[in-house]
Every structure is written in C-alpha cells, then in structure tokens.
Amino acid sequence: MKILVGVKRVVDYNVRIQVKADGSGVATDGVKMSMNPFDEIAVEEALRIKEAGKADEVIAVTIGPKVCQEQLRTALAMGADRAIHVETDDDIQPLTGARILKALADKEEPKIVLLGKQAIDDDNNQTAQMLGALSHWPQATFASEVNIEGESAVVTREIDAGLEQLSVDLPAVISVDLRLNEPRYVKLPDIMKAKRKPIETITLGDLNVDAAASVKVLKTSTPAKRQAGIKVESVDELVTVLKEKGLI
C-alpha cells in the first residue's frame, strides 16, 4: 500500500509576517521558510502507518518553484521513501492543487492521500475536500486519530461538539489536525541519506493540469492596529462609555 503525502512550503510559523509595502502580498525575501506544520504531522502519520507494517511506501509531493525541494528533503529526512516535485512558478490555488493531486493519485494509485487540514499561509482548508470530490473518494477531515483496519481507515475527527469517529473505505483522503501526533526530530545521518533519495520533477503539462486561477487576490493588508485602552473609575462610567460607543 502506498501513501501520498502533500507538503507545502510556507513562511515559518515563528516569523512575524510582514505585508509588502504595495499590498501585493506577504514579504518572503530572506524570510525563513519551512514545511507547513500540519503537513509535518501528515508526514509523521504516514511514517507511523508504514512503521506499523500497514503501508509499504510513503511518497511526499510538493507543488511550487524549485526551492520547494528543501521541504521535500525534510520529508525524506524524516523517512519518506521518495518524493515528487511538481515544478511551477505559478500561484497555485486550492482547486488547482486538488487537480494536481488527483492526477498524481491516478498515476501512483495510493490507498491514502494524507494532507494537512490547512496551510498556515492562506488558511484555506479546501484542498483535501476538493480532492475528495474530484476523485470520488471518501474523505475524513480534521483527523486526531487514524487506524488502518484492513481495507478501511477508522478516523477520529475533531468537530465542534467533540469527537466523531468515522470508518472510510480505502482509497480515501485524510486531512490531519494538530493533535494527531508530535512530529519526530530529524537525525543528522538521515539528513545526509535524504540527499541521495530520489526526487522526481514533473510539470503541470505532464499532468494535463491548467494553472489558471479562479480566485483573484485584490489586496493584502495588515490587521488594523489596536487602539489604546482607557481606564474607567466605576461600573456606571463603564456602562455609559459602552453606550456612547454604541456597543451595548
């Protein structure tokens, strides 16, 4: 059984995001980039399934410019067997991403596609769901526990009211949530080994996917600055001020 895992290159979660002066997007020049933390959890889960003897191969895949290979190397150093780089300089939106993953799934025939529930750069939370729809596969999103039982996966999902347990037939799309696992530390010898593991580079043309975007980003801006607070003497004054501002 093969597992295909999606890996996205994003601005590191520790970095304070800065919007470009012209509002055309977020500054990434000289900024530390990393694997999307949810994708790291997905890679870890794929490796654990393989280590439990329930999968034979873990394939990491990324979509983006050449530098994204750094994140594939991280996945390989964690333990993925091989990697596919869909190279493009275009801005890839969730629907295009899902189409690319669908084309790859047709080609590689994995039993599970594991994805982070969302990427921390655009917070879309759409790709897994779109991939499920395009491929007519069952989907189990926001997984906090995954158990492979024969030809199906039992997945615990985090939902508003608590936890929900689903059983989905394989092949299936699973998107992972924060509490699923704690990704491992990468070992030095594995980083060296990862340099020798294969990365296959393909283009959108190879997959017959068009990068045309259906959504246009008009403007990116920083959140409005919080205004300085005031101190009030009494509850009455507080109520008056709130009323004046039309808040109650």
Partner: protein
C-alpha cells in the same frame, strides 16, 4: 551512555562568515590538491542566517580572495557605500558633522558595501554546499569531546526533546558525537565552547582580557524620499557621557530600508545604565529621527561584539582544533568591522589544515601553523596598526581619546612605538548603585522609541517551551543576595531582551526570574554579570531568534 557517532575530517561549529569561509576554502584547496575531504558545519540557528546579526558595512578584501568572481556568482553585495557622514552628537537635539579630514582613516568606507550579513552567510552556505560541504542547521554543539590524552576529538550535538525537569519527552533524541581530525570553533563572540577551550588549554595566557560591546540593531522601512541608498552615518557622543564608550550607526540599504543600531562598550561603570534604553533615546536625535519619521520598524536584534583587538587575541591552536573569527576575537574596533577578518581567519584555518594534511597526519594534532599564518597575514597588520584606538578611548574618553586616535591613525599610521593595555575585564568595572545616578529614560512613544517586549517580538525569537533553562546560575542566591543590594541587579537592564526580572512574590519576597524563552543569544549576561555567575549554554537546537536580513 552509548551515543551514535559520525566521523568527518573537519567539523566546523557555527555557520557564520568565519565558519563558512573556512568550509569553502577547505573544499577549494582539497579539490586543488585532489584530496578527498569530509567537512560538516553545524549551526544552532533554525537555518543559516537566523542568528547572524551585524551592521553591516563589509570590506570585501577577504571575499575578493575567497571568490574573486563573487559578482558573477551573485553574492549579495549590491549597495556600494556612496557617502560617509560622521556626527558628534552634543545633546538630544543637536549634532555636529565632522569634516571628512578630521575622521580617523579606518572609519572611511570607500570601496565597501552595505550588506545584510545574514544574506551573505546564506549565499556562502550555498557555495559551500555546492563544493560538497554538509551543513546542518538546527543542531547545537553542546559539549566538546576530548580524547584520553586531552586532545579535542569533536563535539556532541545537543539532546532534543528534554523536558524542563530534565526528563525525556516523547520523541526524545539523544545528541550525537561528531568526530573530526580537526574541529574548528567559529561560534562568534563569547562562544560557550570557545570560552571553555581557552580555559582548558590556557589560550589566553600573556594576552589582555577580551573586551566587549553590546550592539542593538533595528531595521526600518522608511519613506522613499528620505532614503539615500549607500549612505553610511556614524555618530559619537550623546546619549553617552564622555566616559562610556560607544556610538551609533545608520546604513541606507536597498529597498528603502535602513539598518541602524547602537554599540555600548560593556566596561561601563554605572549599573543603572540600560543599553536598550540608550539605543532607543539615541534615535530621538534629529540627525537620526529625520530618517525614521513616518517609517516602520520591521526588525530588532542584539549581539555582543568583541573589541579587545590586537592585545586580546588568544593562541589559536590547541590539540585537535582551532579558534577562528569572533570566537577568538578579530574585530577591528577602529573600523568597527569584523566580518572581513572573520572570513580571512577562517580561510587561514583551512590553509593550515590542508597544508598540514599534505605534510602528514593531523588527527588530534596541535597545528601551530595557524598562529604563524595569523602573524604574517594582513589581519595581524591591521589589528596591530589600530591597537591603541580602543585603549585611547578608554583611557581619555571620547573627545581626547578620539583626537589621539586621529593623530595615531592619520599622521602616524599606527606606527607609534608603544602599546596601551586595558587589563580590567568588563565584568569588573561596575560601581555600586548608590554611587551612581540613574539616567532618566523617556517613556517609549510607540513611533520612534519602543519598549523591550514589543522589540523582542520583532526578532521572531522562539524556544521550545518545555526544556531546561539555558541560562545557568552557578550560585542561585547571588542575584538577590549580592547583585540586588550592590548593583540593583544590572541583568534587568543590560539584557536587551527582557530575560531577567526581579519580581516580588505574594509574601513580599524578592525573586530572580529568568525568562529564557526571550533570549536572543547575545551573550551579554555571560560577559557582564559582576560575579560571572551566569553561564550561557545552548538551548535545544533551532531555538533563538529567526532574523531575516540582520
């Protein structure tokens, strides 16, 4: 405990300008001599450049030697210096521009480049990897490993996944032994292993104590009409008094950004002084604020620098290893530059190792050739010429000392036949708190000046929360029992990241609190604590600031 190990020919600790230049030069020479060589560089920052902080105006001498074709290779040296303004600030409102002929020669910057040293290091790392060097960011060198005969055999990388109480968390990964024939230490100023090696091998015998400064730096995005790409501004004088050494810098980089900062010598005597607040109020002088008004601060960081210069350079070789760059202390205080000397000493270490390999076995050997190479290099010449610059400022204050420096450098070209010494270490210079007046620092205005916490936020500093504190107190009672009554615990003020606090608990008891997760790895506490009670050790790999283009 049995640990895994990996063997290399050379292990380099620290991916800064010195370590990476050593790595590149090693591979270049090995290829020339048709030698196979395994070289690895480990770096505690989460990526190369994450912990690099420098002005920086780069003198390209060493770069020209290392990569004569650096321009074609796309090195990020893009902004040539176009103007050199030096101001003497007389008070918070005024400053006098020093005529060019009165500026000491080493402070002239024709032919130099305004750079982000973090980006230069990222570029050097690419070159090193292309030459076959293994670079491992996110791993610390926590300990030196010794052979039975006392020689250095390599380093131990830090354990990952240790909880605050020392227990092993899920996913615990023990550190590995990285073994090498020669280990090059390039940790930068006040490296914690370098400090230990200098003691173990008595490398500082017969030299002056190292002297330090703390540099606090910000990056601003300013209004395009105020930006003059290539302009270099330096200031002396206010807000420091005549007996506290230091000064400010402001460099106009590309993309309407300016890098600005303030360096204060850590031999200051007033325990009430706060380098952070001095830096903040310095920006209020119109010579500086004229550029910042209407702009936005986008980066903050701090790092100690060594400025002892010629008189403080230790022995560089010991059995099994070498010290290079700021780990040894090659900053030229008169030029306020250490990147070119760091790079050059890294290259000298590479030459030393390759020449020694060609002559025989180098494993665990002491390569005294390194010290000889230093003494015949231009690094030695330029440090020797400027050897009295720092001590003059220290002895006579900014005005008279500065005048001497001008005579010494512009008339006598550093050839006066005497050498001044400064033998008091920087931790020994504080007067008691009640002898000194506390400076009055204005409240942050949120436009030009800011508080410490919002500043640290801009350094993108992060440490895994559940881990042992990496700032060790030899005697935990000293801060409250000794430092507080005598010096009003200066750590509260000299730390530029708000790591140290004296708080009063519910019972009215004073308590010394260490917020280790704020630490930007500047090492000032390790240097300035009056009883040398604080020891900086490496936290879990990848922790610390995440500087982008510092």
């Amino acid at each position: 405990m049995e640990r895994e190990s990996m063997e290399f020919d050379v292990v380099i600790v620290g991916a800064g300008p010195a370590g990476l230049s050593a790595a590149c030069k090693l591979m270049q020479l090995a290829q020339e001599k048709d030698q196979e060589l395994m070289v690895c560089v480990i770096e505690k920052g989460s990526e190369v450049g994450a912990h690099i902080l420098s002005g920086a105006v780069l003198e390209p001498t060493a770069m020209n030697e290392l990569f004569p074709d650096w321009k074609e290779k796309g090195a990020p040296l893009k902004t040539a210096v176009k103007g050199d303004d030096v101001y003497y600030l007389t008070n918070e409102k005024k400053g006098i521009k020093t005529p060019n002929f009165l500026v000491p020669k080493p402070m002239h910057n024709e032919g130099n480049y305004i750079v982000s040293m973090a980006n230069v290091c990222r570029w050097l790392a690419e070159q090193a990897e292309a030459l076959g060097v293994e670079i491992f960011p996110g791993f610390t060198a926590s300990e030196v490993l010794f052979n039975d005969d006392g020689s250095v055999k390599g380093i131990l990388t830090g354990d990952m996944g240790v909880a605050e109480d020392g227990s092993e968390k899920d996913g615990y990964m023990p550190g590995m032994e990285l073994l090498a024939k020669q280990t090059i230490f390039a940790e930068g100023c006040r490296g914690h292993l370098g400090k230990q090696l200098m003691e173990t091998f008595n490398l500082r015998d017969h030299v002056d104590p190292q002297h330090y400064g703390i540099g606090i730096k910000e990056i601003w995005s300013i209004e395009p009409e105020k930006h003059q790409e290539g302009l270099v501004v330096h200031t002396a004088g206010w807000p420091l008094d005549n007996h506290t050494e230091g000064g400010g810098f402001l460099y106009h980089m590309e993309n309407n950004q300016v890098a600005l900062g303030f360096i204060i010598a850590l031999n200051y005597s007033n325990p009430h002084l706060s380098p952070f607040d001095e830096m903040q109020r310095w920006k209020l002088n119109p010579k500086i604020s004229q550029y910042l008004e209407g702009g936005e601060r986008i980066g903050y960081g701090a790092r100690a620098v060594n400025k002892g210069g010629f008189q403080s350079v230790p022995k560089l070789s010991f059995p099994g290893g070498l010290l290079i760059g700021c780990d040894a202390g090659f900053l030229n205080g008169a030029k306020i530059k250490g990147n070119h000397t760091a790079m050059k000493t890294g290259m000298l270490a590479a030459e030393t190792i390759i020449e020694s390999i060609m002559a025989g076995d180098v494993a665990s050997k002491e390569l005294g050739l390194m010290d000889e190479k230093y003494k015949t290099s231009w690094v030695y010449d330029e440090l020797h010429k400027t050897r009295n610059f720092g001590p003059a400022l220290h002895k006579f204050g900014t005005l008279i000392g500065g005048s001497f420096a001008w005579l010494d450098q512009n008339i006598f070209a550093g050839k006066l036949p005497f050498t001044w010494h400064n033998t008091t270490p920087d931790h020994d210079t504080l007067k008691s708190a009640n002898e000194c007046e506390a400076p009055h620092y204005p409240k942050p205005d949120g436009k030009i000046t800011f508080d410490k916490l919002s500043s640290v936020f801009l350094s993108s500093t992060n440490h895994e929360e559940d881990q042992p504190c990496h700032l060790k107190l030899t005697d935990p009672s000293i801060p409250i029992k000794h430092n507080l009554p005598l010096y009003d615990e200066p750590a509260q003020r000299y730390c530029p990241a708000g790591v140290y606090e004296v708080i009063t608990d519910e019972d009215g008891q004073k308590k010394f609190q260490i917020n280790g997760q704020n630490c930007v790895h500047c090492k000032t506490c390790d240097i300035k604590d009056p009883t040398q009670n604080i020891t900086w050790v490496t936290p879990e790999g990848g922790g610390g600031p995440n500087y982008s283009n510092m």
